[in-house]
């Protein structure tokens, strides 16, 4: 039996974390398919969903290669992108908690997308320079798509925050709901070892806050992270990266996985 290289083990888990985060966010956004507030925005959110799914597939495919290289799999039981997405259990999923929260209203969906897109953009900017060629390639590919996501979601945060009383109230509510889930972005899990990822996670926090503040200031003229805001004091939820999820996770996995679990190997 081959010994598992520690850094390969960490890199595999890191890839699964990125894949799961993108997959679960993609699945949540896809719930809007056919239910968007207007046709063009229904199409926009599902386009974003498709980009995230594609990015998740790239990470899963690479993780599967590493898993199959480092363990002796019986023929026919090798890891694949599908087995990783459809046949892992809740505790094995490493996605950020923010991605599994219910889609909520349009404001919550938009704000979550904006928070996540800005974070992933900053992260991929660093990962593009990774010593691992394939990780750098996936990041480089994804970042071009993320520029559209940031622009679209950022404009919508402003449109809603600076819109009617109703839309402003909903955006304020979304900020309050989602803010406690943003701390997890910057707290490294054991697999987010800087020696493996090449990213100092804490260095992303200031640029993230700066971008978020600029947009929130324009949208609602208030941000939890401004000087006297409660942003720093609030208790931050964590656990997603370690597989300790919210109650919502089991339900979204059931929705996503029941077909493959009921009819193993089913294909279109």
């Amino acid at each position: 039996m081959k010994t598992v290289n520690l850094s390969t083990y960490q890199l595999t888990n890191y890839l699964l974390y990125l894949a799961d985060t993108n997959l679960v966010l993609s699945q949540r956004n896809a719930e809007w398919c056919g239910h968007g507030p207007i046709l063009e925005q229904d199409i926009a959110i599902t386009n974003i969903s498709l980009d995230l799914l594609g990015q998740a597939r790239n990470f899963y495919q690479y993780a599967a290669v590493l898993i199959n290289q480092s363990t002796n799999q019986r023929a026919g039981s090798e890891a694949t992108e599908d087995s990783l997405a459809y046949l892992r259990t809740e505790r094995e999923f490493k996605n950020l908690l923010i991605t599994e929260l219910p889609r909520g209203d349009w404001a919550q969906t938009i704000l979550r997308q904006f928070f996540c897109s800005v974070y992933l953009y900053l992260l991929y900017e660093q990962l593009q320079k990774s010593k691992d060629d394939q990780l750098a390639a996936i990041a480089g590919k994804s970042i071009k798509e993320l520029t559209y996501h940031i622009k679209w979601s950022g404009e919508w945060v402003i449109r809603l925050g600076d819109g009617t009383d109703e839309s402003r109230q909903r955006m304020l509510k979304a900020i309050e709901n989602l803010w406690p889930y943003t701390g997890e972005f910057f707290i490294p899990a054991e697999f987010e070892n800087e020696a493996v990822t090449g990213v100092d996670l804490s260095s992303l926090k200031q640029p993230w806050l700066q971008k978020i503040n600029t947009v929130l200031e324009e949208a609602v003229v208030w941000s939890p992270a401004f000087g006297d805001g409660w942003g720093e004091a609030v208790f931050m939820q964590t656990g997603g990266k370690q597989g300790i999820h919210t109650e919502h996770m089991g339900f979204i996995l059931a929705e996503m996985q029941y077909l493959q679990r009921t009819y193993p190997g089913a294909e279109w």
């Binding site: 063009e40 995230l52 594609g54 390639a137 996936i138 480089g140 590919k141 520029t147 622009k151 950022g154």
Partner: protein, 191 residues
């Protein structure tokens, strides 16, 4: 000339011969790829799109055309659902012409850009009713609410058009409308 020099010279001749055979086979494969089309934009070949990055033949086969090699393609967008179909289309086209052992592999870096689309491809897109990507720009303007560049209507050539939505019927297109002829149209967005 001693025996070793003769052997080396003979080997070199053989290599040159092989290289020229390989080069001509590679050229035939490039030619065949002109006949493989994007299922979602059936006027564009995979070469027009600029997604074929390389064609390599690694080992010549003694009998017929069972060459081994790879065609490297790169996806337009990570989630583009046409990629699997395109990859299959290339395989089938090659098998049809006796190239049974050429693999199609996908590479992500360098990331695809609309700058790689051929001029012929852009002309075909316009004739098909889709505004081709602006060739002066390969990156989206990141400023929020930035006024988008004027896009020419593919139907009446007016620049008096407006962006309806940055996301359209496929990942690679935005939705526009022409103020003059009033027609909505797709714009193949810069990427």
């Amino acid at each position: 000339m001693n025996i070793f020099s003769k052997m080396i010279a003979a080997q070199n001749n053989k290599n040159t011969e092989n290289n020229s055979i390989i080069a001509s086979e590679v050229a035939i494969i490039w030619k065949l790829l002109e006949e493989v089309y994007d299922p979602e934009l059936p006027v564009l070949s995979v070469l027009d799109l600029g997604i074929v990055r390389d064609v390599q033949i690694t080992s010549p086969s003694p009998g017929g055309r069972s060459w081994e090699g790879v065609v490297m393609i790169t996806p337009t967008y990570s989630g583009c659902p046409a990629m699997d179909t395109i990859s299959m289309g290339i395989r089938l086209k090659l098998i049809e012409h006796g190239y049974n052992n050429i693999k199609v592999i996908s590479v992500l870096s360098p990331a695809w850009t609309t700058g790689w689309m051929s001029q012929a491809g852009k002309d075909k897109l316009k004739a098909y009713g889709i505004a081709p990507p602006n060739s002066n720009q390969t990156e989206e303007d990141t400023r929020l609410f930035a006024e988008p560049a004027a896009i020419q209507c593919p139907l009446c050539d007016s620049f008096h058009t407006k962006l309806i939505s940055r996301f359209g019927s496929t990942a690679c297109k935005s939705l526009y409308q022409c103020h003059d002829c009033k027609e909505p149209f797709d714009y193949f967005k810069c990427h």
